[in-house]
Symmetry: C2
Subunit: 374 residues, 2 copies
């Protein structure tokens, strides 16, 4: 195996597949990157038990192939070498059967290879169950939902984001049973019916290789895995097995009072009000709508002290005095998911779930369960 490659192109692609590289080694060969050198292109593959990523490089301006072959190269060290060399071109060739030489300007690296026979067979499978979405929209869906998934392994299904596709609509839902994030998008063409749950962690890795543009991502749904095709990259993750709970009835439709806030003002107030509530335990703050339509946000810690914030809402649908308590962290996560400058909180009752909406986030609802305080 022997080829020369543009250093920057190689480094960019190594960074992309790096997200799937195993750092721990339940299977030591997975700490390696598989390089397949074909006649006219090379592929770089990395995989852990959850996700696999493959990058294909075929631009003859950046690549010169002299001899085909396959190696599995220690991932961490290979990436560090490419990061540290300043050469324009890097030459890579195998020698003595299980070693590789990496030459770059006046640097000469020798790396012991991993056993390529031990590398698992990874098939990146396309499917007839397929939808297409632009990168920006997919990023938005992920950003606005994954934070609400559960971290607890006691209910695995809640550690993923539910994607339900039915004809013209894709609905993404995440919940840890204390809060819920729901984002949908509407297509102008018809799609197949699909119901899958994608691990939240995989989506958080996927987002890192997507740019903020309208380049198309093709999503192929398999029985136990889903494949994202984007530019020269294949990103595949396993799915979470099981039936996602029906959450439709959770989202209230009739509201007691709706209050509109400037988003950044609200975030600052909540952050100050939560200063004394430790982030590790449930950091509960109170929201109090007073007769004069001024909103008070407050918290008390017997040990440390108390905070009382006043905030003037932009609008208030009703002036019944109203009081509710909830987790500042959940609330901040939810409000920060909005792009709108103004957000509206819709309350149903003092101990009933409430929802947050934003006028420029038409297809996004964040729901939070309040807590009962004395």
């Amino acid at each position: 195996m022997k080829f020369s490659i543009n250093r920057d192109v190689l480094f960019t692609n190594l960074n992309n597949i790096n997200k799937a590289l195993s750092t721990k080694a339940p299977m030591p060969v997975l700490t390696g990157i598989k390089i397949d050198v074909k006649k006219n292109y090379i592929t770089l593959t990395a995989s852990n038990s959850e996700i696999s990523i493959q990058a294909k490089i075929d631009d003859p301006r950046n690549l010169f192939i002299e001899e085909v072959g396959t190696i599995v190269i220690p991932g961490k060290y290979f990436i560090e070498i490419v990061r540290k060399v300043e050469a324009k071109t890097i030459d890579i060739h195998t020698f003595e059967n299980n070693m590789v030489k990496i030459l770059a300007d006046r640097s000469n690296f020798t790396l012991n290879l991993l056993e390529k026979e031990n590398y698992p067979l990874i098939s990146f499978d396309e499917s007839n169950l397929k939808i297409s979405l632009d990168a920006l929209n997919l990023k938005q869906i992920i950003r606005k939902t994954t934070f609400a998934t559960s971290l607890s392994e006691s209910r695995m299904i809640l550690m993923g984001v539910s994607f339900s596709i039915d004809k013209h609509k894709l609905e993404a839902i995440a919940t840890d049973s204390f809060r819920l994030a729901k984002k949908y998008i509407v297509f102008d063409h018809e799609n197949p019916s699909i119901n899958v749950v994608i691990p939240s962690k995989s989506l958080d890795e996927l987002i890192k290789i997507l740019d903020d543009n309208d380049e198309i991502v093709d999503i192929h749904f398999g029985k136990s895995k889903v494949l994202f095709k984007y530019k020269n990259l294949l990103f595949q993750t396993r799915l979470i097995d099981g039936v996602y709970p029906n959450t439709n009835s959770l989202i209230p439709q009739d509201f007691l009072v709706s209050i509109k806030f400037n988003k950044n003002e609200l975030i600052s107030s909540i952050e100050r009000a939560a200063l004394f509530t430790s982030l590790e335990v449930a950091n509960i703050i109170k929201l109090n709508l007073k007769n004069d339509k001024i909103v008070e946000i407050s918290s008390v810690s017997n040990e440390i002290g108390a905070v009382l914030e006043e905030i003037y809402p932009l609008e208030c649908s009703n002036n019944i005095p109203f009081q509710i308590a909830f987790s500042a962290k959940y609330f901040l996560d939810a409000v920060k998911a909005f792009d709108s400058n103004e957000v509206t909180i819709h309350f149903t009752g003092e101990i009933k779930p409430f929802i947050i909406t934003g006028e420029f986030d038409a297809n996004l609802v964040q729901l939070i369960l309040p807590v009962r305080v004395s």
Copy 2:
């Protein structure tokens, strides 16, 4: 106690004294900041067992004092409050004997105070044994020496930097017995004779409150502590007790061969050569001067692989073939301490200490002990 203060002025000064704030609590009251409100000024004091810092604020444009008094306020929370409020002015007053109210725009914080009677008496003592130095020069001395101090408590004296002042010269020396950093400066006036050892950690904190300018720092040397007076700040640290070893004879004067390098090229080569040597263990690399005056830098790891770097020196005093091995980390620490674009390594023998100098760092010598390799 009651006063109003400009938020930005308060925040800047809190950040400065923050470096001395105790985070752990062998003495819980030291997690607090002592605020002394006098008729025309306030002081903020923080202290841990090693260092104490006091900031004085007296500019009437930024401060309005209504009632004098002293409090000890929980440091971490007070700083977080001031960081998070956006108000121009903050009002602070005590109430109910052991509480303080902090008002900023529409935010209202209540904090439980710490017992001021428990706060230790900290005297910031001036001394007749005094020198003056500009901030930039003092920063340079610290930056170019502290990294070479020992981290091991087995020889406490080596955990500090030795400052020897004799008439027109100040000499700062740090060594962990494997390497040594020596920087001196020359005064045009006469100073008292002083020999002290200042904890390396304290100097690394001091550096953070010094700006890159020529504002004067007055240094007052006491029996067991040293006080730095800089702008509106007092920074005091304990000294390390004991006699610093005499290191004069360690620095070689006659050299077998001297090799001049471009500094950045040398750093890049060494960093690449050290890629496979773990930073946790002694990361040994070899330097080999060949007949053709090309320098090879190399390392081998049986497990991972090998690196061979070639570098063309700018100058070489002699062309005897020569080989030496040393810690890449120590070497990089030392070379990075130079401001010069070109550095010269002066070798005395293959298993003898060598030194590094730079033409624009006239008063700086870095010494490194090689290691014997087979």
